[in-house]
Amino acid sequence: MVIKHKYEMPEQPPKERIHNFDEVPLGYDEETAVKEAERCLQCKPKPCTKGCPVGINIPEFIKCIRERRFDDAIKVIKESNSLPAVTGRVCPYENQCEGNCLLGKIGEPVAIGRLERFVADWERKKGVTVPEKPPSTGKRVAVVGSGPAGLTVASELAKKGHEVVVFEALHAPGGVLLYGIPEFRLPKEILSREIDYIKRLGVEIKCNVVVGKTISLSEIKKEFDAVFIGTGAGLPRWLNVPGENLAQVYSANEFLTRVNLMKAYLFPEYDTPIAVGNRVVTVGAGNVAMDCARTALRLGAKESFIIYRRSKDEAPARREEIAHAEEEGVKFMFLANPIRFIGDDAGNVTGMEYVQMKLGEPDESGRRRPIPIPKSNSLMQVDTVIVAIGQTPNPLLTSELKGLKLGKRGNIIVDDNQQTSVKGVFAGGDIATGAATVILAMGAGRRAAEAIDEYLRK
């Protein structure tokens, strides 16, 4: 008999969790994981694997779980994904593996993401064994940026015997996994274990090095046999409306960096401050916006609003994240767009003027274009604003290297092997694609590692 629904994963109740930063979903226990794995039809065409950007052999690892061979399950996953504890928490499964699952046609798909998380956590509890060091090839590779793209390249190349040095601008590695995604979705303890693993593979991580400032890319090129650039999409976009520079207006990046990287949620135990008022409005409806709106509640906001110019159907955030935000009491204002923020004499935000929107013809992104409705202006009282309408690639480094071809939005142009227009320089992740996902950044990292390995052996 087919069981139509996923086995539930326990979660912290909304009323409790909005008062802490602990992880929200608590994960499957062994029994539930095995039962969930038994739902898998083990169908031959493996549509799930086709939906996975890194092509994990999903039915195979699920089969291992079923047979309680968890050690083998993790091996299967790690053949194609080096950060399963991370992706098992943040991947948009519904559009990828789970979106393709045959079971989804008659009920809910197999909870592939939860199963991935289960085995990764199981391995973590047991203790991770580091593979033996392969003989050194004598080649040196520099990786710029320690987000998922850079970390993947580093670990793959280290496993192939190359010497790898990662340069990171901030004082700690992880990229968005560290400074962007909040503790309640991705505990930093998990990230630090993954990084520890990569270090044990022999990778050297040099923090506090801003490439392009501390050392130039050309210097690095001279010192290393190949270079990978994985600097992400770290430049916040603005609305360009009046009042955006008022004191209590944050970019999502500033808000989240203060809270996650600098641990402002533990102020004054930690030194970095954050100021959140009673009525917080977050502009945008992607994962980043959900993270901000939910973080604001945890920092004590009485009301947390999301304002988005399109409707719920177009919202780019994962469904699960929207649902979590709704459960926690975030209030959504769809088809509305701010046109101005109003401040008092001290420069603090006191209000927001916004217009109602309607959807017109599809635009170049394929989504219906939002159009303001004339004379639909309203005022609303707010005291904190977070602008979360997207990021573009940071030009700090790409402007320095001559001959590096860039796209219209400042992204680095690469071929199918992640090779840039400069010989020996590869790139991948958000810096090449524009803001995307963790798993796509890792996929790019894997391809780059293959290509770099081949380049070095030539």
Partner: protein
Amino acid sequence: MYKVIEKEILHENLVKMEIEAPLVAKSAKPGQFIILRVDEKGERIPLTIADFDRKKGTVTIIFLEVGKTTKKLGTLEVGDCIESFTGPLGEPSDIRKYGTTICVGGGVGIACLYPIARALKEKGNRVISILGARTKSLLIMEKEIGKYSDELIVVTDDGSKGRKGFVSDALKELIDKGVKVDLVMAIGPVIMMKVISDLTKPYGIKTLVSLNPIMVDGTGMCGSCRVTVNGEIKFACVDGPEFDGHGVDFDNLMLRNNRFREEEGIALKRYMEEQWQCIGMGKKHGDKA
């Protein structure tokens, strides 16, 4: 970890430190800054590179103890380490042969001015320096800057040293005297930079200021440091810190610099109480809690 190589107390709460940071020293240029974090729980704060020694691999910072982080930094002694120290950040000053340049420095801004004045002089400019402080004992680096100045004017609010008045009075006098000025470089409190910019604007004298908004990453990622220049949003950490003084919205900068006043007060009070407790328990001032 970045070691404190030398420490000198310039005045009661004004400290000069030489830090071991070879990579930063190697690339540092006048006008750039670093971001440091004193310890694991510390805030990231920007400080100007007041000097650097490529051979020794060191960078000099001069800071005024105004809040928790700078006070904590001030307790470090030679041999102690700073948790993180990143740089050089920002765009270097545009050092060219301008002709006659006037370097105006106020308070701790004088430290930021020093490497720029030196570089301007070395490029063959005529350098006139106007240094200002509230009172005599707060005036710093007079000798150092004097060494690279064709003319040095000292001004104090209370007249305890040099002339009584403000740096803007001294500048106005020079302009009124008919000195042909090709560039004014002003670094100091926001209000001083605003007054200087307002003064030179009607004369059309090119005026550069170095802005000090609140920063976090210093790499252009967060926008905490955004300032309005000629109606456009600029990030001081990557587009600056130097900007055309005639285009800067100084009022907005002052408002934004006050946005964490309350929290800064809480942090400082708590820190001072902890320090007092340490002393009470027989530890010496500066011992880590």
